[in-house]
């Protein structure tokens, strides 16, 4: 088994120390940092996401894998920066104004990071103007809006309208949350909807143009 394969397995199994050591060993063996991300880390997290989607593992097991990937990335990031390699795609995410719920949003952020998106998390109770300002600053390909309350669903629509009306660079908007449906997403003019965190990664990759 190659070092990259071992690294991929260590990440999928959530073995942080092994992931860190194997990343260093792969670099020492001459592997390119970008190849480690593309050929070991991202496939490992994709496999973990698939297991989660198929109800084979729970969130804690997925988070352990995400932490192992982070350990590997901590080793890689200086090399990636030095080589001028940054994630090709950036995504913003936040819970809309008036809503404090963030479990679902946080999970989606983990899944997106696993898919090698650069994720900027704006937190909860985010006013439309903050989304607009962040889009202008970070120029993401994708914005994710989350809401759990029926009474904050209108704020999701307001945020979509504010982004569209702002003259921001073009960006795809994806929505989700317990009371949200595809129909509601269509009504407010969102580009995409995902019913759960597991499918949010696939949807994001499609919307952002990764696949």
């Amino acid at each position: 088994m190659t070092t990259l394969e071992q690294l991929s397995q260590a990440v999928a199994a959530g073995k942080s120390k092994d992931a860190k050591a194997l990343t260093q060993r792969a670099l020492d063996e001459g592997a390119q940092p970008g190849d480690l991300v593309d050929q070991a880390l991202v496939p490992a997290m994709a496999a973990v996401g698939e297991k989660f989607k198929n109800n084979e593992i729970f969130v804690p097991e997925m988070l352990i894998a995400a932490r192992a990937m982070k350990e590997a990335m901590n080793v890689l990031e200086p090399r990636l920066l030095a080589a001028g390699i940054t994630p090709k795609y950036t995504a913003l995410i936040g819970t809309v104004q008036g809503d404090l719920h963030d479990i679902g949003k946080n999970l989606v952020a983990v899944m997106w990071k696993g898919a090698n998106l650069r994720v900027i998390d704006l937190g909860t109770n985010v006013v439309p103007a903050k989304f607009v300002a962040a889009i202008q600053e970070f120029r993401p390909q994708l914005v994710g809006l989350s809401a759990l309350l029926t009474t904050t669903m209108p704020a999701m629509g307001e945020t979509v309208r504010a982004i569209r009306a702002s003259g921001c660079p073009p960006v795809k908007i994806m929505v989700g949350g317990a009371p949200i449906s595809q129909q509601f997403a269509d009504e407010i003019g969102a580009d995409g909807y995902a019913p759960d965190a597991a499918s949010a990664a696939d949807k994001a990759k499609t919307l952002a143009g990764v696949v």
Partner: protein, 461 residues
């Protein structure tokens, strides 16, 4: 801890419609005194609550209370508990909340005058303190406006004061996602307990000032978040079951500072509290599927003194508006339980057995709510030396009960969950015996950006 032994000594006495310390309301509803009463809760359809929309908001609540109470009268309900649980803008702007309180009380008075229907209003302000991040728990505008709403509601005639308080939740969500039992106990039994002590002392003052009742709290944001995450297959059901047992320690604190029931409907930890305190409890189950799914639809009713629908939007269904439809469903549920009580203890226990047995073996979260297991866990709590130890004892007891139920073939646990029983036991074994040591350990692990230790009376070393 005030409660050192159980108020209900025999598991056969842990029964719907019956509490050792019943509560009599101003209009003579005797909660826990031999009848189960419907408790209706409702909310708005998808809309904003602002000064501009308040006229529409008001029309919704006028319609809800008028139609629901008329239906309750037509179905000859012996009495009705109405719960008004505010939405965040109604706590942030107490005038909004108080306007609706007046509407509901006027509708209830009209039903009494016109039909002779006896009612009582439970007032549950939304706990907005978490709108500050990290949450500011003991001062500031969210705290002051919440107290203003409690005060005004009690003055206006809302007789039962309740809350879904959030102290500790800012660390608990992450603990759930990581199945971190140490952090669960820190959030519930250290932070949560300290916040409950502070909060309920204040609520008791308000209640005394206006001659109203401290009803109770709920660990909804903790136990029910775990339940919903388990329902969505994000965390194991066995973990949610153990969290449920631990939540009882936090909610118990309200009773130690003046609450006398009925405990909040969404507190599925209420059976433990009924066993410990003897006060009546509200419960919700199958008739709250309008608000959330649960694996506890029948078993929850086994202990109910009021039976609730949790919350339903004021939207039109085929029969009528949803709150009126749910009033009808609750009344029929209550009729069945009250009919069983009328037929005597043997009949009531037969119904309880069916309610319990139809759920208990199918889900770990139901298993920890059988009468026998409620007693075991409640006993573990009152036998502990402090809240921290009570949290550990409740968790350890729940793990043991789940293991036993599974090994005896009486409880289904998915194979992929079995390992979590071992990991929970191992986590409990690693916890220090001394609370101060535990607090120091958890504070070193918790993200300091997420909470303010001083808001819980904790000092940063």
């Amino acid at each position: 801890m005030k409660y050192r032994r159980l108020a209900i000594a025999n598991s056969d006495d842990l029964l719907f419609g019956s509490a050792p310390k019943p509560l009599v309301t101003r209009q003579g509803l005797r909660l826990g005194g031999g009848l189960v009463y419907p408790e209706l809760n409702f909310t708005l359809p998808t809309m904003e609550v602002t000064a501009a929309t308040m006229p529409t908001v008001v029309r919704h609540y006028q319609e809800i209370i008028k139609d629901a109470l008329r239906r309750a009268t037509e179905l000859e309900a012996p009495g009705v508990v109405i719960e008004f649980e505010t939405l965040p803008p109604m706590t942030a702007n107490p005038a909004f909340g108080l306007e609706i309180v007046q509407i509901l009380l006027a509708g209830m008075e009209e039903a009494r005058r016109q039909y002779g229907l006896r009612t009582v209003l439970r007032m549950t302000p939304n706990d907005n303190r978490e709108f500050a991040r990290p949450p500011v728990m003991r001062s500031g505008e969210h705290w002051e406006r919440m107290l203003e709403l409690f005060e005004g509601s009690a003055r206006a005639g809302a007789e039962l004061l309740s809350i879904e308080s959030v102290g500790g939740k800012e660390l608990h969500d992450e603990a759930l996602m990581n199945c971190d039992l140490g952090q669960v106990i820190f959030a519930l039994c250290v932070l949560g307990v300290r916040d409950m002590e502070f909060l309920w002392k204040q609520l008791a003052v308000i209640a005394r000032r206006h001659g109203v009742i401290c009803a109770g709290d709920t660990a909804c944001g903790f136990g029910n978040t775990a339940m919903v995450l388990a329902e969505q297959k994000m965390i194991p059901r066995v973990f949610a079951a153990v969290v449920r047992a631990v939540t009882a320690v936090r909610t118990l604190v309200a009773y130690e500072h003046g609450a006398v029931g009925p405990g909040k409907d969404c507190a599925y930890e209420n059976p433990y509290l009924k066993a410990i305190t003897g006060y009546p409890v509200a419960m919700e189950g199958k008739t709250s599927a309008c608000a959330h799914f649960s694996p506890l639809g029948n078993i929850a009713a086994a202990y109910a003194d009021t039976w609730s629908n949790e919350s339903v939007q004021n939207v039109r269904l085929l029969a009528g508006m949803a709150p009126t439809c749910y009033m009808e469903q609750l009344i029929y549920d209550c009729r069945l339980m009250n009919r069983a009580l009328d037929d005597g203890k043997t009949a009531a226990l037969a119904l309880r057995r069916w309610l319990v047995d139809s759920d208990a073996g199918l889900d770990p979260q139901a298993w920890v709510l059988t009468p026998e297991n409620v007693f075991e866990i409640a006993q573990a709590i009152v036998g502990a030396s402090d809240y921290y130890q009570a949290g550990i004892a409740a968790a350890r007891c729940a793990v043991t009960l789940l293991r036993t139920g599974y090994s005896e073939g009486r409880l289904k646990i998915a194979k992929r969950e079995l390992g979590f029983l071992d990991s929970m036991a191992a986590q409990l074994d690693e916890l220090p015996s001394d609370e101060a040591v535990f607090i120091g350990r958890q504070m070193s692990l918790a993200d300091p950006a997420k909470y303010l230790p001083g808001e819980y009376g904790l000092r940063v070393a």
